[in-house]
């Protein structure tokens, strides 16, 4: 029986509403949530923030697995977050976990329990995705700031498990990397150390300096004119030095003031920190190692100020949602991704002209064959990156350079690209010459079957594109695929003698024929008419 005012048979549709969304992240020291509205064309409106200190990193970085009590604390925190989400009627959310969960052996059962108890699906993201999301947030916070428009900038986020670095040139990330400089990890590494605070601090310094040595080889740190610091400990330092003005999108601190704050704070042991800053013990524990990392990296640069943008992984996640709402995917990051890929190429002294030319021809073929290959925009970007970097193995040795490229790419980081992306890209680069994919090739077989098919298709295209610049002189201006009687004819527009290109292209079309079942012919553009 229903009473008249209990009538559920009619649904009244209202004007489209702005429905709140939520983003959650599970870091090494805390789990945090942000509930927000994303009004179209406006910056996200934050409705609510909450965080719970849960020391996932302490478990993950020592024993490699999350312990029962940590899991229970996490579940309880997430149940609370679930209630917060429910209180806003949140349906859409993105929950991510970073290094601590990523590295835990029992992460799958852990995430399953999270799903069952809190009803939250958590996605484990890798360092480069973290970098991309942080970059999004930083770009939003700094907007037209000089650091994003002129010169080089080093963006540093010291997290619990790792320090994520991005090197920006005029606001575009060109290098990025994840280093074992996480504050919780560093502390855990010294957990068994029972020396004085000074001794422990000295060990931190030594660890950090060793790794900074390595970073210096990868990043032109000396050229950085701007130093951007994100992460909870950086924000804390900014609160203390510049005042707690959260409304400001970025706080600017004089280099000297930042350095002297670091030095003064690093000198304090945990008890003194608790007393001095009225922080809970769990929060002060990361402060000393994190500040050492910021300090050592700052000293490597020529930056006169430290910029602390109000940018977190969560705001990055929100902005990413906004982008998705606007129909943008990773490919809209292609500029940044390609800039980062080229920077990697430069490090391995690639032939930039050849690389860019091959990349252009490859994506041209990719676009031409869209209806045949059925691949997505993300694969186009992967092809472009693979094309740019297919020759970097020559840096190691010309002989077998396709294999060297495969190896280098499989361990490199390119801004915005995930480990999955790099798995495909490294294999595509490998198959730009010589043997076709084969079941005996372990890196290839390590991919899942979808990825292997992608590799086959993309490598088939890359081999032809590369052949079309066989003598590295960029003679071919354009290539089109003409479908003629069961055959694909490459109509090539170029200057000079294209004999070498023709021979090479016909030879390297082997994989294209195998994958798509079409014979391949070659014709120069003027020849037909």
């Amino acid at each position: 029986m229903t009473s008249p005012d209990d009538d559920r048979s009619v649904t009244t549709l209202r004007d489209p509403e702005i429905r709140p969304v939520a983003v959650l992240d599970m870091g090494a020291t805390a789990i945090r949530i942000l509930v927000a509205e994303l009004p179209p064309g406006e910056p996200p409106r934050i409705l609510e923030e909450a965080s719970r200190a849960v020391l996932l990193g302490k478990d993950a970085f020592t024993s490699g697995r999350l312990g029962a009590s940590t899991i229970e604390a996490t579940l309880r925190a997430l149940e609370g977050f679930r209630r917060i989400m429910d209180s806003y009627g949140v349906v859409r959310y993105r929950a991510v976990a970073t290094s601590a969960v990523r590295e835990a052996i029992n992460r799958d059962t852990f995430l399953d329990r999270v799903r069952l108890r809190a009803g939250i699906d958590v996605e484990v993201i890798d360092g480069s995705e973290e970098n991309r999301l942080s970059y999004l947030a930083v770009r939003e916070a700094l907007r037209e700031h000089e650091a994003m428009t002129e010169g080089d900038a080093l963006l540093v986020e010291v997290g619990g498990g790792s320090a994520d670095l991005s090197y920006l040139r005029r606001g575009e990330p060109v290098y990025s990397g994840t280093y074992a400089l996480g504050a919780v990890r560093m502390r855990q590494n010294l957990a068994a150390f029972h020396g004085s605070h000074e001794q422990r601090t000295r060990l931190f310094h030594r660890t950090v300096r060793n790794i900074v040595e390595d970073i210096r080889r990868e990043f032109p740190l000396r050229e950085a004119r701007h130093f951007l610091a994100t992460g909870g400990d950086a924000r804390f330092a900014a609160d203390q030095i510049a005042g707690d003005d959260a409304k400001h999108p970025a706080r600017s601190i004089q280099r000297d003031r930042f350095l002297s704050f670091c030095e003064a704070t690093v000198a304090l042991d945990d008890e003194q920190l608790v007393e001095a800053y009225r922080l809970p013990l769990s929060e002060v524990e990361t402060l000393v190692p994190a500040l050492i990392v910021y300090r050592e990296l700052l000293l490597e640069t020529q930056a006169a100020t430290v910029l602390v943008p109000e940018a977190t992984l969560r705001t990055g996640l929100l902005l990413d949602m906004v982008r998705t709402d606007a129909g943008q995917g990773i490919e809209d990051f292609s500029r940044q991704v390609l800039a980062s890929a080229e920077a990697l190429g430069e490090r391995f002294r690639y032939d930039a002209n050849h690389a860019r030319h091959v990349a252009r021809l490859a994506v041209g073929l990719f676009d031409d064959l869209r209806s045949e290959h059925g691949l997505a925009a993300r694969d186009r970007l992967r092809l472009e990156v693979a094309a740019l970097l297919h020759d970097i193995g020559i840096f190691v040795n010309l002989r077998g350079h396709h294999k060297h490229a495969q190896y280098i790419l499989s361990v490199s980081e390119i801004f915005g690209l995930s480990r999955d992306d790099m798995g495909v890209i490294s294999n595509v680069a490998r198959y730009h010459r010589r043997a076709a994919p084969n079941k005996s090739h372990l890196p290839y077989m390590a991919l899942d079957s979808d990825a292997r098919v992608q590799v086959n298709k993309l490598a088939a295209i890359l081999r032809v594109a590369n052949a079309l610049d066989a003598d590295h002189l960029q003679k071919v201006r354009e290539v089109k695929v003409l479908r003629e009687n069961e055959q694909w004819v490459l109509e090539v527009d170029g200057g000079g003698d294209l004999t070498l290109e023709r021979l090479a292209a016909l030879a390297r079309a082997d994989l294209l024929t195998e994958v798509f079942g079409r014979k391949v012919g070659f014709r120069e553009a003027g020849a037909r008419s």
């Binding site: 702005i18 709140p20 009004p39 934050i46 923030e49 909450a50 719970r52 209180s87 809970p280």
Partner: protein, 706 residues
């Protein structure tokens, strides 16, 4: 970075002792009881409050000092007094206070009431039929509840409940012995203390102990009754002193005490007519000192007389009622709050909008969630009913309950269960902290997205006390306050660690430092030669750090006005330290309860309201909130109320450098200004303005097509 805690010279001369200051406050209430210009029933009410306050004071504060003494603690307080010295001074002040209370009561108040027929009589004063009826009542109802206890030296003294009324009976020696014997008859607490005999004209009442006394012989057949005297003991309550001002706290204490009959006795009250041998026996058996004995010249325990005040009779012996005014008249409260903030001043203005706020939130289909703190609320309140209703309507309801009495007390179980069964998420307090903040959050979905509506108050969500306590409430849809409110509840519910907040300031995490910073800012401005001024209103000012900060500001030249209703440990008028500080206290018909803080801030004035007094307890051991009043209209209203207190020259008393209070009087040519009446008049005028304004409604036509 926080400075190391200040350990300057102790300077006891800068501080007043808090216990003596509290006694001064009670003396001001007593002054109202003695004031012949007050109607007799109002005077009786004040007399009951004085007695009830004293009970609480002895069971909490005196008990704590006695414990200190027993543990050999000789550490002096802020004012440099050791526990022993404090107990001595308390005794010196409390004895005459009790005498004065009973002088007023038996010498003036009760005779005045008797003139109008409202009388306390003894059974012997009645006609035989009425006397017979009392004897029947005794036999049928009272006697079965009585257990006379024979006290002898071989047995421990019976565990008499704190504050319970008893009769001490001195019996003649047993056969073959020389010494008279002591017996105790407990006056049953379950029966009402006032008995109205049947068939008697007028409003005659007999006290229950007199009913028993009249037939006492039947309890001790064949024995010689040499003397009878009513007496009452007060024990250590082992509880924290609560300054919510009501009588209800005693219920909590009494509830607690049922389990704690053993705790130490801190005071004995006996009828003054008691014979020396009986008193001597009693005192020696209770192991008390002479200073702990209070001889009562009238009925022991006058609190039950409060029920006479509430009798719906003799209207002219009471103050004419000051009816709370409707401050807002809005069909859609949420729409109103979208437009502007609302500041309510209770009890001048009605509490109804707050009740309506919760009930309309409960029914509004767009409301997603309601969160509220309930401090000492009775279960049968409209607010609680609305919360349950909201949960039944599918809204997410979170209630943080600070129970009135013990958790397992039956009535509390009933209503908190009801909340839970209706689907509310109920949290029974925060371990280690009392949740004293008063906040209500409504999350609502609108066309433009989520909006949050918040009510913040200085008083409890209790529509009964909202009629007698002066309190402020702020209703707002301010975005930042809304975010802070959410963050606050997340912290309380354990969904989040204590957050950073934008506009709200929370104790125990930030409140103390914020207040110190605000005071220091005025000091800095004064030092820079700017006019600097702090006006603050609260119930108690005890915190050393804050008092010292106020001295520093005063020394720098800031003008400081304090309206402290109760305890004030700050000593005003000290040359070179606090000569710029004025402290007043208003004790009148409504209990002053709001906390208002105003800082001049170089002209960019800031006005705050708070649930917290400036006491270590509020700042360090409770969850409290301080919130800004930003809308000019609301700010003006709050400041007007604050100024009214300082303008009062009828019910205001000014604190003197020696800790005493001097009543303000209208100066020559000055008009009498009684702030509470003025504020009520102002609320009426505001309502008239509102009504006049709303007489004409302009309704815009939004679309010609419609």
């Amino acid at each position: 970075m926080k400075k190391a805690k200040r350990r300057g010279p102790r300077e006891p001369e800068l501080f007043l002792n808090r216990e003596l200051s509290w006694l001064e406050f009670n003396a001001r209430v007593l002054e109202e009881a003695c004031d012949p210009t007050n109607p007799p029933l109002e005077r009786l009410k004040f007399a009951c409050i004085v007695a009830s306050n004293l009970d609480e004071f002895f069971m909490v504060r005196v008990a704590a000092l006695k414990n200190d003494l027993a543990e050999g603690d000789t550490a002096p307080d802020l004012a440099g007094l050791t526990p022993a010295q404090q107990l001595q001074l308390i005794s010196e002040r409390a004895h005459p206070m009790v005498d004065q209370l009973y002088e007023a009561l038996t010498g003036e108040i009760l005779p005045r009431l008797a003139e109008r027929g409202l009388k306390l009589v003894r059974p012997g004063d009645l006609e035989p039929p009425a006397r017979a009826a009392l004897s029947r009542y005794f036999r049928d109802e009272v006697l079965p509840a009585l257990t006379p206890l024979a006290i002898d030296t071989s047995r421990p003294f019976p565990m008499l409940a704190s504050l319970s009324l008893n009769l001490a009976v001195l019996l003649g020696p047993a056969d073959g012995e020389d010494d008279p014997r002591l017996a105790v008859v407990q006056v049953p607490g379950r029966l009402s203390r006032l008995v109205r005999p049947p068939g008697v004209e007028g409003m005659l009442h007999v006290l229950l102990e007199d009913v028993i006394w009249a037939d006492l012989a039947s309890l001790f057949p064949g024995q010689e009754i040499r003397d009878v005297a009513a007496f009452r003991i007060a024990r250590d309550s082992e509880l924290d002193f609560d300054d919510e001002g009501g009588l209800d706290f005693l219920q909590v204490i009494e509830e607690e005490l049922k389990n704690r009959r053993r705790s130490g006795i801190v005071r004995l009250e006996v009828e003054d007519g008691i014979s020396p041998p009986l008193l001597e026996l009693l005192v020696s058996r209770l192991e008390l000192g002479a200073e702990d004995v209070y001889r009562i010249r009238g009925p022991v325990d006058v609190r039950p007389l409060m029920s006479l005040v509430e009798l719906p009779l003799l209207e002219d012996l009471r103050d004419p009622p000051l009816k709370p005014q409707q401050a807002i008249e809005a069909a859609d409260l949420f729409a109103l709050l979208d437009e502007k903030d609302v500041v309510l001043h209770h009890p001048y203005e009605s509490f109804d909008p707050v009740v309506a706020f919760v009930s309309s939130a409960a029914e509004d289909p767009d409301v997603l969630a309601i969160k509220q703190t309930l401090y000492r609320t009775s279960g049968d309140s409209p607010v609680v009913r609305s919360l349950a209703r909201a949960a039944e309507n599918g809204k997410q309801v979170t209630v943080l309950v600070e129970l009135l009495a013990r958790f397992d007390e039956q009535s509390n179980i009933r209503w908190s269960r009801r909340l839970e069964e209706s689907g509310c998420h109920v949290i029974y307090g925060i371990r280690g902290y009392k949740t004293h903040s008063k906040i209500l959050l409504v999350v609502r979905r609108g066309r433009q997205g989520i909006r949050r509506y918040v009510h913040l108050g200085t008083g409890n969500y209790n529509e009964k006390t909202a009629r007698i306590y002066s309190d402020f409430g702020l209703m707002t849809s301010d975005r930042e306050i809304g975010e802070d409110a959410s963050a606050f509840f997340n912290a309380l519910t354990g969904y989040s660690d204590p957050p950073r907040m934008r506009k709200l300031v929370m104790a125990p995490t930030q409140l103390r430092e914020r207040v110190l910073r605000l005071i220091a800012r005025e000091k800095d401005r004064a030092e820079a030669g700017q006019p600097a001024e702090i006006s603050a209103k609260m119930n108690s000012l005890v915190d050393e750090e804050i008092i010292r900060a106020l001295y520093d500001a005063a020394k720098a030249g800031a003008k400081i006005r304090l309206a402290v209703r109760g305890i004030c440990c700050l000593r005003p008028g000290l040359k070179g330290t606090s000569d710029g500080v004025e402290v007043v206290s208003v004790v009148d018909r409504f209990l002053e309860h709001s906390r208002i803080f105003h800082f001049r801030n170089g002209g960019d004035e800031e006005v705050y309201l708070s649930s917290a007094d400036w006491m270590p307890r509020n700042l360090d051991r409770r969850i409290e909130l301080l919130f800004p009043v930003e809308a000019p209209e609301g700010r003006q209203k709050v400041l007007q109320a604050l100024d009214a207190i300082f303008q009062d020259n009828v019910k205001a008393r000014r604190l003197q450098p020696d800790g005493s209070y001097k009543r303000r009087r209208p100066a020559k040519g000055e008009e009498a200004y009684r702030s509470q009446l003025e504020l009520h008049r102002e609320a009426k005028r505001a309502l008239d303005r509102l009504r006049a304004g709303s007489g004409i409604t302009l309704e815009p036509i939004r679309s010609p097509v419609e």
